[in-house]
Amino acid sequence: MSTTVVNTGTEGKTWGGGNEPLKASYGKMMMWFFIVSDALTFSGFLAAYGFSRFKFIESWPIADEVFTHVPFLHGQELPMIYVAFMTFVLIMSSVTMVLAVDAGHKMNKTKVTWYMFLTIIGGLIFVGSQAWEWATFIKGDYGAIQTKGGNILQFVDTEGKRVALADFVVAEEKYRSEHERKNGLWFVQEGTLPTYTVDEVIKGLESHENVLVRTQVINEEGEKTVLSRAESLKQIKENGKAVVEGANLYVNEYGSPLFADFFFFITGFHGFHVFSGVVINIIIFFNVILGTYEKRKSYEMVEKVGLYWHFVDLVWVFVFTFFYLV
């Protein structure tokens, strides 16, 4: 009896077996497939953002009015500038990463070390900038009134320029103090009380003839609707329920709370990716210094973390567009 030899007639062809049809190592291929799944996660978030925005298309906050700050330049309205800087930092660190990969192909340890180092620095600057962006957003700048229906009423002067609560409202002596854990019921506490009460805002509005209310509704010129003086007073008196300063997951002085929720969630998830990317880069950086890849005679690990790092940059390109530009 002779052994059966199976001939499929596909030997030597791409998918005939016994070779690597994709010409990529297992690790690199799996990094690509992980990136596909992570890209789907992020597009899920961004599509959900688009969904909510389309749902409230007539009253969504205008990003140019929300992100106007640049560090060290107080009181100036400079939309886009800082976030453009952040984008450039991230693209730049992508460039140093790909240069590290390129140096790895040439087995140049010194260059890989330096480029990895620069990549890590770029990542840290980006995460730091994002933290600053968050802090500014949480702190808020003008303050607003939330109505019973959950809408946000902001204040402008007769020329349409924004007016901060501090410019026309005087804080009086309060009888209401913040409820802390140490007083009363130990398991109950509340958040920080706003600087002003609704009644103080009403008084301030009555005594300042040139202050008007601006609603969330976007008019035909693509700007927020400004109410007449009489209508302004009526809205605040009848519907004003709470003073909002800054933004958190429940209230948002810039408009719809959903905007703040998505901002925190999407940029937070992205920032977490950048953070973990920096950690992985640091690990690889030390491996490079220790000569691990020199001994292995291949810098492919640098290439794999490089893929992840570029992906983080890729996601930011989309976050930048959908949060700040569109």
Binding site: S52, A84, I91, V98, D102
Partner: protein
Amino acid sequence: MGHEHKLEILRGLVKFKSNTQKIWGVLILLSIVTAVEVALGIYKPEALMTQVLSMKLLNWIFIILTIVKAYYITWDFMHMRDETKALRRMVVWTAVFLICYLVFILLQEGGYIEGVYSTGFVKRDF
């Protein structure tokens, strides 16, 4: 494993001498695109505010420029240009198809709900 790189971008319009040179070239391209986006975002030219396919022309430009940037990051920084056709299609076609599907469904639904709200089923308090 060989590390040969394809050094042409823009369909052969620009050909670089080395991989390092290509990286810097792509950086310049990405910076220009970002600068254009930022300039358009700050000045918002009135001519681009017309509605095209139920969205402002300016927003379409932003989205197209973003996809251009994504292409060069994936193709040149992530070396997709040098991978085999099969790997490239597994990654790119899968992602592009699923993302387009998801975005279409969600935006369609969002627009529908907005219609329900604005035709009076939900009353605003002002």
